[in-house]
Subunit: 211 residues, 2 copies
Amino acid sequence: MKKLVAALDVLSSEKAVKIAKDIVDYVDEFKVNYPLVLSAGIKVIKDLSKIRPVIADFKIADVPHLAYMISKIAFESGALAVIVHGFSGSDSVKATLDVARDFDGKVYVVTELSSKGGEEYMTKFSVDIAKMAKKLGCHGIIAPATRVEKVKILREVVGKMEILCPGVGFQGGSFEVLKFADGIIVGRSIYESEDPKKSAREIREIINKRT
Amino acid sequence: MKKLVAALDVLSSEKAVKIAKDIVDYVDEFKVNYPLVLSAGIKVIKDLSKIRPVIADFKIADVPHLAYMISKIAFESGALAVIVHGFSGSDSVKATLDVARDFDGKVYVVTELSSKGGEEYMTKFSVDIAKMAKKLGCHGIIAPATRVEKVKILREVVGKMEILCPGVGFQGGSFEVLKFADGIIVGRSIYESEDPKKSAREIREIINKRT
């Protein structure tokens, strides 16, 4: 069954945990980003991990010794996986992988952002970055649901590696991407919904019909 | 006089503040990154700001609505400036600039990382990114002290915009870069020194001789 990952970009631990408990039956993993951990403290990763595994979407894009330090904090705080930017170069991705191995954790590499700006520079290297991620032995890649044709190409490049796609919903991405992806990441359509549980269930049903 | 920015990539507020107070006479600004704020909490920015202005080196590399949220937290927490990746695209840089204007803050755009991996993808776009940063009205760019010839080219592109360069010291970058840069960012050579005050003073003296 294809995955539904819920991005919880809210600003308090209480709100994140409340939504997480509400939607637990319909989602496979949670994704947290800096707005939540900077506002609520890194401990929120442990709190959410008790409900479902957490992907630390830290979009690491720094030199290797800092990539190492940042991923170490993420895994020590209970994250199942971290997200690193491929454009920073293979040395930084390797540094993140080194930490992941110590924690039996996963590394997802961003190929290109789902936003309009992702088409300016990143899109030109996303295939190369996917190849690099595969060669290094990363667990998966992050690819844009807003560009289904690109995800199709990336699927051919990475073979059976996991592909997760943000961008369905507010950003205009399509569920069509599930033809090539292993799961989708949904944020605002769930956490900004008046009824997150209902929204998560509806999205889960659409995913199930397609897979 | 050219700037010395001290990167404080330690893991506790106490240690960061102690080093900051030790070196205050020789440095112009502090730079903090995720390892410190994730370990010590975001409040460390306010604590350090009482000693010298703080650049939040969050290397923002996300879609616009998250770039906006992350920079807002940085400025609300007392940062003078944030660092954003140009690679993510102009929409994310603009989102960061929108927040900066509300706080009378500064935005520095990373052109290419000083690490080896910065030569794999980023270096091909760093001139374009510098042009974009200038066009959008950003305050400055971050360029690699490990590639002085590249900084020379970037200086021609950005005119009088501020250029800050990490990479002198542990990463092998050269003080030569001060011919083209407005300042250097030094991390481990200071914070890992047995005598941070002495190290900061020595670096300050080298900078002064060259400017």
